[in-house]
């Protein structure tokens, strides 16, 4: 990163902190923009003035949730708190349930087997990166084929040593979904029988969907083409 770029980013971050997000969103250069966004997040964290807006997306999200959905999330959170105390990270459970990863395998088993919940279908596992230097997250969308209800579980993990217990043995599709998340984010699912890349080649370097990912220069002597700038 050159000094000019540093200065420029500092400027737009200043602007954005004053509420002008367009300053960042209108940056032509893709790399600079993502760097600026990361810098903005850091700045917000440090100043603690906008604690609620710290993460780029969700925490402040306002989506319509019907009363029944709310009560389901609360019900699940309450029963988890009772059975596995200290496993829930956040008080706010309106949209999703934030777990800290402790006992996740047992919790998953419980969610699947409890007759009131019966989450027998794991719909999707989504990896998530909050930005350079921030935590990684795994998001599970569960669905019950008996009760026709759904919840979202989130587990944060450290960026430098990302580890989450595997639920491959609970929902069999967890096998491939976890491998995909590992492939893209480098999150290791502990207890998985075959933690290898699934979409990228085995000897690919880096974790492509992380925000700070940089493409390797050559692969088996073949030059990997760089992203063309200004293609938007």
């Amino acid at each position: 990163m050159s000094e000019d770029q540093d200065k420029y980013i500092a400027e737009v971050v200043e602007k954005a902190l004053r509420g002008d997000m367009d300053a960042i969103n209108n940056i032509e250069d893709r790399v600079t923009r993502s760097k600026a966004k990361a810098a903005l997040i850091k700045a917000k964290r440090l100043s603690k003035t906008a604690a609620a807006e710290a993460a780029p997306a969700e925490e402040t999200a306002q989506t319509d949730t019907t009363p029944t959905e709310k009560s389901l999330n609360q019900k699940v959170a309450e029963s988890l708190e009772k059975k596995f105390s200290g496993s829930i990270d956040s008080e706010d459970v309106n949209e999703h349930i934030q777990l800290n990863g402790k006992n996740w395998f047992e919790i998953a088993q419980y969610l699947k087997d409890n007759p009131d919940l019966l989450f027998d279908s794991l719909q999707c596992i989504t990896g998530f990166d909050f930005g350079e230097g921030e935590a990684l997250e795994v998001r599970y969308n569960l669905h019950s084929m008996t009760h026709y209800h759904a919840i979202e579980i989130r587990i944060k993990t450290d960026r430098n040593d990302p580890k989450v217990p595997s639920v491959e043995q609970v929902w069999r599709i967890g096998d491939w979904f976890e491998r995909e998340t590992y492939d893209m984010y480098g999150i290791v699912f502990e207890g998985h029988h075959n933690m290898t890349r699934i979409l990228c080649p085995e000897d690919w370097e880096g974790w492509p969907l992380r925000k700070d990912y940089e493409t390797q220069e050559t692969y088996h002597g073949i030059i990997v083409p760089k992203v063309k700038e200004g293609w938007e």
């Binding site: 997306a57 989504t126 979409l199 992203v227 938007e232």
Partner: protein
Amino acid sequence: MGIVHGDLMTLNIGPQHPSTHGVLRLKVKTDGEIISEVEPYIGYLHRCFEKHCENVTYDQVIPYTDRCDYIASMNNNFGYAVAVEELMKIKVPERVEYIRVIVAELNRIASHLLALGTFGLDVGAFTPFLYMFRDRERILDIFEVLCGARLLYNYIWVGGVSHDFPKEFVKIVYSFLDYFEPKIKEYNEILTYNKIFIERTADVGVMPPEVAISYGVSGPNLRGSGVQWDIRKNETYSIYEKFDFDIPVGSGIMGTVGDCWDRYYVRMQEMPQSAKIIRQALKAIPEGNVHQALPKKIRPPKGFIYKRTESPRGDLAYYIVSDGSPIPFRLKMRSPAFTALSVLGEISQGWMMSDVIAILGSLDIVLGEIDR
């Protein structure tokens, strides 16, 4: 199954093989002719769909969704548009909803025709394949009239569709339906109740419902196992609640519930249901401006959405996280074919080599969508 066990032999099918429906490699371990292990290797078509989406605006994602599941592009566009609209809380005009349902159901018929035709091809029936491709061609012609493209349409946009129906279009669709509906009987005669076809597929590759659910299998494959689950009915989106249609499920007519024949037959029964929906929609389609609700700039508010729709292959879901900018912060596509392929290793154990090809064909996978 085998009583005498010999040495296991490792055999590679693919990546280039006509029966793998794309670029898929199967590493098969066989004991004589009996399969003891199948491991799919995927990723040959990986094009970083999700990374790409983090670099382009919301509307620029749509052409790429076409290229994920290139057999049913309309449904992919549809799912994406519905998800972004729900995130932005856009209400699209009534006419647009009808147009979308009509084209999505037409595309479902085209997709099923291809799936059934190639399935027949996999088990050695060449003629039905030609019959079904002949009729699929007519649907592609209809789409060409509609938007100029035969496979990759970029037709359904966020907030609307790219063009209104051209003149006489309703008539063309009606004439296609009049032509197509009697053909189902023809397919049944030539393939469904063909003795050799039944021998090859009935009782083969049985997928019990618990296994299907645990592996996240969805769509016709799940319904073939006897589970009544269709997002169009159970978690209705767009205007599907207005239409009267049935959800066919497998019942083991020729063998066991959840065998290859059941999965095949569910698709066969779904086609007349789609035709039924199209007829109802054509009858009730209102007038209106299809570009009325198109947003000038697509910039969803901060938030996230997990939205599922029913594509011809099953639950197609988009997980979209927006940070308030015109570019998605994170976009994940949950592809139904990905989960369908993952079950292959489980259900093909103990079958013969030729049965694995039949099972793979009955799962109806599209590699473009698996690898993304």
